[in-house]
Symmetry: C2
């Protein structure tokens, strides 16, 4: 059952509609789907929940919440409101988890942004717990520290969990693209396992050269990341959740998405053979 834990993000095949994803993913043995919020636009959330279930796909998570830091109190409140909406959406489609891209404000001290992130999560946590939706802090690669996330290592994600008092609902999403370079990666994954914080695991690859900071990720096998080794570290903690393929790539989005899905399935099967 090599595909049993394979999940694909709707953004990975961005040119496909959600309805097309629900047809095409299961054909390749994909068992999970992580739904990006833009894929929900104009749709009835109850119907999405039903259609996804009928397609035989587990909804693994909703992407994405976060972006808590802002220069003004009004901006920070708007972010909190948006995250409360995301929690409602996650609950409505049956997603047990929301991935948080935590946010940053260019020129604002990173320490201040991290405080605002902790404050923002604390503000929405009661609603998340009431809805039965978990939250996963996703450390982002340091090249996104200017405007996407002031949380750039697993150590920092753990520190925010600590600051919040280690609520069970708040954990970490480990994405190999963001953390593969970190010399502390194995010990921080171990710690996430021991603390019950390992909430999600994302895979893709780092290409050499990488020609775009955002949208030049590689399919597994196209780059230099030791994906299988990291994956084994994750599994060694007892993690049995999905391995989520999350790829942003202008190159791959420009091709036939059904062939791309074939390649995802083949690459995944080879990686976990």
């Amino acid at each position: 059952m090599p595909m049993r834990r394979l999940c694909v993000h709707t953004i990975t095949t961005k040119p496909l509609s959600l309805e097309e994803c629900l047809v095409e993913f299961p054909k390749r043995g994909v068992s999970g789907i992580t739904i990006w919020r833009q894929a929900l636009e104009g749709r009835d959330l109850g119907s999405v929940a039903r259609q996804t279930r009928e397609a035989g796909l587990d909804v693994v998570s909703l992407c994405r919440g976060g972006f808590f830091p802002a220069a003004t109190a009004a901006g920070r409140q708007a972010a909190i409101d948006d995250n409360l909406k995301a929690i409602e959406q996650a609950h409505a489609i049956g997603a047990p988890l929301i991935v948080l891209v935590c946010g940053a404000v260019p020129g604002q001290p990173l320490t201040e942004s991290r405080q605002q992130i902790a404050d923002g999560i604390a503000a929405v946590l009661p609603a998340a717990e009431k809805a039965g939706v978990k939250l996963a802090i996703e450390p982002l690669h340091p090249m996104y520290a200017d405007d996407r996330s002031a949380v750039n290592t697993m150590r920092q994600a753990h520190e925010i969990c600590d600051v919040l008092g280690s609520p069970k609902s708040v954990g970490i999403a480990v994405d190999v693209y963001h953390v593969w370079w970190d010399p502390e990666l194995k010990e921080q994954i171990d710690l996430a396992g021991k603390t019950g914080r390992l909430h999600a695991f994302h895979i893709c690859d780092w290409r050499t050269p990488t020609i775009d900071l955002l949208n030049d990720r590689g399919l597994m096998g196209e780059g230099c990341i030791n994906i299988r080794e990291i994956s084994d570290w994750v599994d060694a903690t007892g993690f049995t959740g999905h391995r989520e393929v999350e790829i942003f790539s202008n190159r791959l989005w420009s091709g036939d998405q059904r062939e791309f899905l074939d390649k995802i399935a083949a690459s995944y099967a080879q990686l976990y053979a």
Copy 2:
């Protein structure tokens, strides 16, 4: 004397010849020059030393050595030979320091690359000491971990110094572009001061958005880096060396380089007013 510690790298004004740099830098009060090896091509090194002295410029360092990791023993020996050549060049032009971009091999474990880096430095260290040339490990931003450097934080640079037995000739080059995001930055700078390892300090800025991983650095003030704060941390260790402006930018290289030098001087004067 706001410009007393201003150094500019020849690569910063890449379209200018070395001879043009020697004329244009002093006109703006620049007091130091870091010479990139490509600027030495086809030139007599003794003459470069004399011309630079006559221009009133301190040679701050030679850029760059390093790139020690390689997949084969022959490749690693070639890197050592090239670094020995760089040491000769540095000695000949009167550069007291060589900056090391340490290297990495895509797909080779970073731990193995770091071992090869330590081995490579150890192999060239006697020649460097004999020539009176210091070596500075420059931690590179994690976005270069695939093929440019397996040393991505100051902590890792310190660890390599430790492994080598803390020779006085081996230290660290702190470049704000590479390390500004690091939550440990202040304490690692403090440690570099205490251990006598703070060998060089490079400045530029991080633009939002950054559109090229290599050549889209900003002039000081164009981005989000807390340059003055980091600079103050560096000075607080007792560091009195040059502040070296090292900017790779297709955008800035495409303009008039004399106007660019005016802007560098103005931006520097404002930053350290």
